[in-house]
C-alpha cells in the first residue's frame, strides 16, 4: 500500500466509501460485474427450469414445486409460470447481464485505464449509475415473489397483453414492478452512458488521439451513444404503457373486450408500442454486441501477437453498424400488417448491416493468419465469439428478408438466431473480458486449466442447445409455447427437445466451474504481475494494487497506437503505447 499512501492526497477512505458507495471506477466495475453475475445465475437458472418443462412436459419434478411453490403443484409447471420464467429470463439476460453486466463492467474498468484518465468524468454520477442498477435489480427480483406472479408477456411486453391484468395474471402487480424496475434501469444506463461519452471525449491523455484509441474504447464509446439515443424512447414507451395501465389512457388500446368485459378505450394502436419498443430494441442488440466485439478485438490482437487487421475498417464498421441499427427496427414487425412498402425499406436496410458485419468477421480471421497465437481461455472465448457471430449473423440474412420472415417469425428459428448471434457472442465476449482483465481487476490470476474446461464445456453445449433449434423452427414450432404436445405435427420433435434440454442443463451446471474459479482466484489466486499478457495498452502500466487515481505519478504520455505487436526491428514482440517512436522505426501512420 506504499504507493497508495504516496498518492493519497485526500483523507483515508472508510469501508463504506471504498466498497459500497465507491466513486472509483475500478470498484464500480467490480460492483457491476458481481451484480451482473448474480442476475446471470438467476437468468440461466430459470432457463434450466423451463427447459425441464419443454423436454419432459408431463413429468413431475419435485424440485419445481420446491422452487416455484403454488406455481408448480405436484412438480408440474403451470402455463402462467412458464411464460413468466421465459419473460424474466429474457429480461434479465438482455438487460441485466449483457447490458449492465457487460458494459457496466468493462466500460467502467477500461475507459479511464485505457485512455489514461484518473477516473470517470464524474465519479458521483458513476456511483449513482450503479446504485440505480442495483435498485432496479432488487425490484426485478422482488417482482418474482408477488402473489399474481411476475410479468409474463414476453420480454418485449407487448400491450394489450401487458396492459390488461384480465388477460394474464402476470400483467398485474408483477408487470407494474417490471416497469418500475426497467425505468430505474434506464436511468442507470443513461447516467452511465453520458459519463462514458464525456470521459472518452475529454479525458484522454496526451497523445491519445481518437485514431489511437484501442478498439475496446471505440466500441464502448459508440455503445454509449447508442444507449443515449435509444433508451429514452424505451422510457417513453414504458411511460405510455404505465398511463394506459393505471390512468385509463388509450395510447395502445382500442376496441377491446377481454374476459367478458368491454373496455372503453378507443383510438390507440398496439403497433405504436412495437415501433417505440424496437426503436430501442434493435440498437439494444448492438448495445449488447459491440462491447463484446470490442473486447474480442483487443484480446485477439494481443494474443495473436499481431496488430488487429484493418483498424480503420474496424472503426468504420462499428460506426456503420451503429448508424444502420437505428433504421432497421421494422424487421421485427414484418407481419404486424405494416405497409408492405415499409417492409421493403426495412428489408433493404437490414440486409445492408451484413456488409460491415462481414468486414468485421473477415478482419478477425485475418488477424489470426500467420499470428503466433497464445490460446489462453480469453483467446478461446474470443475465437468462439467469432464463430457464433458468423453462425448467427448468417441466419440474420434469412430473418431480415421479409418474404422469408413470414414463415419463421416467432418460431424457434428466431430463438436460435438471436441466442447465437447476440446471446452467445456477447456472453463469450464477457467471459473473454473477465479472463483477460481478471489480473487487472483483482491483482490475481485465474486458474488456467479450469478456464479451459469451462470454455470447452460451454462452447460445445452452447452449440448443442441452440443449433438444433433452427430445425425446430423450420418444422414450424412457435416460440413461447408452454408445451408442444397439443399438436401431433410436433410429436417428432420431442427427441430434439430432450437433447437440447440435456445440453442446456449440462452447460448451465458447467458455469459453476467458472464461478468457483472466479471467487477462488479473486481471493486466493496467485499474484499477478503488472503486464501478464505483454500487452500494449495503458491499463497494464498501472500498479497491480489498485490506487485511487490509477497512476502513482504523472499520467503516461502516448506515442503510438495500441497494436504494435511483433513489429519488425523491435526486440520484443510488443511495444507499449508509452514507448516513443524511434528514429529509424518503420512509419505506419498511427
Amino acid at each position: 500500500m506504499a504507493t497508495h499512501e504516496a498518492h493519497d492526497h485526500h483523507h483515508e477512505q472508510s469501508f463504506v466509501e471504498k466498497y459500497v458507495f465507491s466513486q472509483d471506477h475500478k470498484m464500480i466495475a467490480k460492483q457491476f460485474l458481481i451484480t451482473g453475475m448474480i442476475m446471470g445465475i438467476i437468468g440461466v437458472g430459470m432457463s434450466m427450469l423451463f427447459r425441464l418443462q419443454l423436454a419432459w412436459p408431463d413429468h413431475s419434478f419435485p424440485i419445481l414445486e420446491t422452487l416455484l411453490g403454488k406455481w408448480a403443484p405436484d412438480g408440474v409447471m403451470d402455463p402462467n409460470i412458464y411464460l413468466a420464467l421465459v419473460t424474466i429470463h429474457g429480461t434479465i439476460m438482455v438487460f441485466f447481464v449483457l447490458t449492465a453486466g457487460l458494459s457496466g463492467t468493462f466500460s467502467n474498468l477500461l475507459i479511464p485505464l485505457q485512455i489514461g484518465a484518473r477516473d470517470m468524468a464524474s465519479g458521483f454520477i458513476n456511483m449513482l449509475s450503479y446504485w440505480f442498477f442495483f435498485g432496479s435489480s432488487i425490484v426485478m427480483v422482488i417482482s418474482l415473489f408477488v402473489e399474481s406472479g411476475p410479468a409474463s408477456a414476453g420480454w418485449t411486453v407487448y400491450p394489450p397483453l401487458s396492459a390488461l391484468p384480465q388477460a394474464i395474471p402476470g400483467s398485474g402487480l408483477g408487470m407494474t414492478l417490471w416497469l418500475v424496475s426497467m425505468s430505474l434501469f434506464i436511468v442507470s444506463s443513461l447516467l452511465g452512458a453520458l459519463n462514458y461519452i464525456v470521459t472518452v471525449l475529454n479525458l484522454r491523455t496526451k497523445g491519445m488521439s481518437m485514431t489511437r484509441l484501442p478498439l475496446t474504447i471505440w466500441a464502448f464509446f459508440v455503445t454509449a451513444i447508442l444507449g443515449v439515443l435509444s433508451f429514452p424512447v424505451l422510457f417513453s414507451a414504458a411511460l405510455l404503457l404505465i398511463f394506459d395501465r393505471s390512468m385509463g389512457t388509450s395510447f395502445y388500446l382500442s376496441d377491446i373486450m377481454v374476459a367478458g368485459e368491454l373496455l372503453s378505450n378507443q383510438g390507440g394502436s398496439p403497433v405504436l408500442y412495437q415501433h417505440l419498443f424496437w426503436f430501442l430494441g434493435h440498437p439494444e442488440v448492438y448495445i449488447i454486441l459491440l462491447p463484446a466485439l470490442g473486447i474480442t478485438s483487443e484480446v485477439i490482437s494481443t494474443n495473436a501477437r499481431k496488430p488487429i487487421f484493418g483498424y480503420r475498417a474496424m472503426v468504420g464498421s462499428i460506426l456503420a453498424i451503429a448508424f444502420l441499427s437505428f433504421i432497421v427496427w421494422g424487421h421485427h414487425m414484418f407481419v404486424t400488417g405494416m405497409n408492405p412498402f415499409l417492409g421493403s425499406v426495412f428489408t433493404f436496410t437490414t440486409l445492408l448491416i451484413a456488409i460491415p458485419s462481414a468486414v468485421k468477421a473477415f478482419n478477425y480471421i485475418t488477424t489470426l493468419w500467420k499470428g503466433n497465437l497464445r490460446l489462453t481461455p480469453a483467446m478461446l472465448f474470443s475465437i468462439g465469439l467469432v464463430s457464433t457471430f458468423i453462425t448467427g449473423g448468417l441466419t440474420g440474412l434469412i430473418l431480415g428478408d421479409s418474404a422469408l420472415d413470414i414463415n419463421v417469425h416467432d418460431t424457434y428459428f428466431v430463438v436460435a438466431h438471436f441466442h447465437i448471434v447476440m446471446g452467445l457472442s456477447a456472453i463469450f465476449g464477457m467471459f473473454a473480458g473477465v479472463y483477460h482483465w481478471f489480473p487487472k481487476m483483482f491483482g490475481r490470476r485465474m486458474i488456467k486449466s479450469l478456464g479451459y474446461v469451462h470454455f470447452w464445456v460451454t462452447f460445445v453445449t452452447a452449440y448443442g442447445v441452440f443449433f438444433p433449434m433452427h430445425f425446430l423452427g423450420m418444422a414450424g414450432l412457435p416460440r413461447r409455447y408452454y408445451t408442444n404436445t397439443s399438436f401431433p405435427m410436433f410429436d417428432d420433435l420431442a427427441d430434439i427437445n430432450v437433447m437440447v434440454s440435456i445440453f442446456a442443463i449440462v452447460g448451465g451446471i458447467a458455469q459453476l466451474v467458472f464461478i468457483f474459479n472466479f471467487f477462488y482466484s479473486a481471493t486466493r489466486g496467485k499474484r499477478a504481475s503488472m503486464n501478464p499478457w505483454k500487452s500494449n495498452t495503458l491499463e497494464w502500466t498501472t500498479p497491480v494494487e489498485h490506487i485511487h487515481g490509477n497512476w502513482p505519478g504523472e499520467i503516461p504520455e502516448v506515442h503510438r497506437w495500441a497494436y504494435d505487436y511483433s513489429k519488425p526491428g523491435m526486440e520484443d514482440d510488443f511495444v507499449p503505447q508509452t514507448v516513443p517512436i524511434r528514429e529509424n522505426e518503420v512509419e505506419t501512420g498511427h
Binding site: P79, L83, G154, Y158, P160, A167, S254, D255, M257, V258, S269, P270, K306, F309, G310, A313, G337, P340, G343, S344, T347, F348, I355, N363, L368, K370, G371, N372, L373, R374, L375, T376, I383, I390, L394, I398, D401, S402, L404, I406, N407, S449, V453, V460, P468, M474, A475, G476, P478, R480, Y481, Y482, N484, S486, D492, I502, I505, I509, Y565, S566
Partner: protein, 346 residues
C-alpha cells in the same frame, strides 16, 4: 428417470473435473513446473488447444450434416400455396448461400486457430491492413447482397400485392381471434363482410357483427376453416382482446391479429388436404409421428392443415388452434351449404 440419471452424472462429472484440475494444479505447483509460465500459456497448451479447435470444427460441421440428414423428415413439407412456392425458392437459395459461407468461414477460423497456435521460437508477421483485400471483402458481400435484396423484395411485393386475373375476385374470409380460440367468418353470396365491432358483442353474436348491416345477414360463421383449392382467398384478420398471430405454416402464411385494426393476407391454396396426405414427405413424417404416438399409447394421427397462434397471448397460447381443410370446389360448396348464415343464427 433415465434422463435424470444423465443429469446427475453430468453434475458429478463437472465436480470431478473441477477437483481433478485442482489436484493437478497443486501437484504441478509442488513440482515447481508452474513458475512464471502459468500466467501465460505454454507451447504445450497451445498445441493441445489448437488440436481441440480442429476437433471442434469437425464436430460442428459433422453435427450440422448429421442434423440435416436426421431431421429431414421433421421439417415442413412442400408448400401448399401459390406464393409459398416462391418463398421456398427464395429460402433454398438463401440457405445454400449461407451454408456455403458457413462451410468456408468456420473451417478457416478453426484451422487458423490450430495452424498458427503459438511457439516460443516463432514470431507473428506484422500486417496492419491490406486495402485490396479489404476492398474485395466489402464489395463481394455487397454484390451478393444486392442480388439477394432484389430477389427478396420482388418476392415480398408479389406476396403482398398479388396480381389476379381481371374477372377473378378473391373470396373474402375473416379470421377472428380471441383468447384462446379462432373463428372464421365467410362473407357469403355478396362476398362482403358485414360491419363488426367488439361493442356489438352479445348473446349469440359472439363476433360483434352488426345485424343492421345488410351485408352481414349472409355471413357464415364457422369454427373450422374450409377452403376451395386453387381459388384465391383474401383473409381479413381481427382480434377481440390481445394481439394474436394467425400462422398457417403449410401455406407459408402468417399475419398478426391486432385489436383495433384489421390486417390482411391473400392466399391461394394449391393442394387439397387429401393431396397433402399422400405426399411422400408427409407420409414419412406421419408414420414417424405415429410410431412415437404408438409407443406412448396415443391414438394415431391423420394429417390436417392447421392454423395456430404464434403471438404470445396468455396462458393457453400453446393450444390455440383451428383445423383447416382444403378441398375441391364441390366438396367446399357442399360443406358451405350445411352451415348456418348469420341471419339464421340470430
Amino acid at each position: 428417470m433415465e434422463t435424470l440419471l444423465i443429469i446427475i452424472v453430468g453434475i458429478l462429472g463437472v465436480i470431478a473435473i473441477t477437483q481433478a484440475v485442482r489436484v493437478f494444479e497443486l501437484s504441478a505447483a509442488v513440482k515447481g513446473e508452474d513458475g512464471a509460465d502459468n500466467e501465460n500459456v505454454t507451447d504445450k497448451d497451445n498445441r493441445n488447444q489448437g488440436m481441440l479447435l480442429l476437433i471442434f470444427m469437425v464436430l460442428l460441421l459433422g453435427g450440422f450434416i448429421a442434423m440435416v440428414i436426421g431431421y429431414k423428415d421433421t421439417l415442413l413439407p412442400v408448400s401448399a400455396s401459390e406464393h409459398g412456392v416462391n418463398v421456398d425458392n427464395l429460402w433454398d437459395i438463401s440457405m445454400w448461400l449461407i451454408i456455403v459461407v458457413f462451410f468456408i468461414t468456420q473451417p478457416i477460423l478453426f484451422y487458423f486457430g490450430y495452424k498458427f497456435s503459438g511457439r516460443k521460437d516463432r514470431k507473428a508477421v506484422y500486417m496492419e491492413h491490406n486495402n485490396r483485400l479489404e476492398f474485395i471483402w466489402t464489395i463481394v458481400p455487397a454484390v451478393v447482397l444486392a442480388g439477394l435484396i432484389i430477389y427478396g423484395l420482388s418476392t415480398w411485393s408479389n406476396i403482398m400485392n398479388p396480381v389476379l386475373d381481371e374477372n377473378e375476385d378473391p373470396m373474402i374470409v375473416e379470421i377472428y381471434a380471441k383468447q384462446f380460440a379462432w373463428t372464421a367468418r365467410y362473407s357469403g353470396e355478396d362476398n362482403q363482410l358485414g360491419y363488426a365491432n367488439v361493442r356489438m358483442i352479445g348473446g349469440t353474436n359472439t363476433l360483434g357483427v352488426d345485424p343492421d348491416d345488410a351485408a352481414s345477414l349472409d355471413d357464415v360463421i364457422t369454427t373450422e376453416l374450409h377452403l376451395p383449392v386453387n381459388k384465391p382467398v383474401l383473409f381479413k384478420f381481427r382480434s377481440q382482446d390481445v394481439i394474436h398471430s394467425a400462422y398457417m405454416p403449410h401455406f407459408r402464411l402468417q399475419m398478426n391479429c391486432v385489436p383495433g385494426t384489421k390486417t390482411q393476407f391473400m392466399l391461394t391454396p394449391t393442394m387439397t388436404t387429401e393431396e397433402m396426405r399422400v405426399d411422400p414427405e408427409m407420409q414419412a413424417k406421419v408414420s414417424r409421428v405415429n410410431e412415437i404416438r404408438g409407443e406412448r399409447g396415443d391414438e394415431a394421427w391423420q394429417f390436417d392443415y392447421i392454423l395456430l397462434c404464434n403471438k404470445i397471448c396468455g396462458s393457453a397460447h400453446y393450444n390455440m388452434q383451428m383445423k383447416v381443410v382444403v378441398e375441391s370446389e364441390e366438396e367446399y360448396n357442399k360443406w358451405m351449404s350445411e352451415q348456418k348464415s348469420f341471419a339464421e343464427l340470430l
